[in-house]
Symmetry: C2
Subunit: 101 residues, 2 copies
Amino acid sequence: MSSAELDEMIKALSHPVRREILNWLKQPELHFADQEHPLSFGVCAGKIDQKTGLSQSTVSAHLATLQRAGLITSRKVGQWNFFSRNEEAIQEFLTRLNDQL
Amino acid sequence: MSSAELDEMIKALSHPVRREILNWLKQPELHFADQEHPLSFGVCAGKIDQKTGLSQSTVSAHLATLQRAGLITSRKVGQWNFFSRNEEAIQEFLTRLNDQL
DNA sequence: TCCGTACATCGCGATATACAGATATAGATC
DNA sequence: GATCTATATCTGTATATCGCGATGTACGGA
């Protein structure tokens, strides 16, 4: 992971809503039990919108930020977009941060 | 550590200059070998100014941000202000982040 | 082909942050 | 007390970020 990538990750994580989303995605079955599609696809954007209480556009931007940072991945199925944590990247980030700090 | 404190810490760390300062303070004898005062006091603000290449006022603000977040401590001796890492807080931050993410 | 749904993107106002220069404050020295 | 040094604080400006509503786009179904 480059220094620029680390920077983008920590900036993405510096907003509490984005950290919360990442945390929800850790246990989708707990936080998105009502999703009609299988949670194995990930969690679809609309569900996350609802849970935050923020507008659709705002949440979409937050998800884009997390994805640009590489912290989540998305999978498009039909008209839906499902998001999942990128566990590998998150782990690498934590390792890097442990080293640098 | 409260959620608000964690938030303030990660925001403080989201600026590369502040992370760099924190990193320099990890090995003062390596990065501030030319300091006339004993490094056991910490590293004095002026030395950090020089090393960043930014203006005195800007660096002072960065140091204040790090201190507000609890990541560094300061010790005033005469007309100098010496800064040191708060290792305990940094460690606690890393632990918390490992848990939350 | 026309709608409805899901989502991304755009445009904008409000707020926060970064930076520099100027000024204020505190301590040291003469 | 005048002055020098170190640092904090203030002021202005430029840029970034957040949030929203509006619009665009892609897909599915009638």
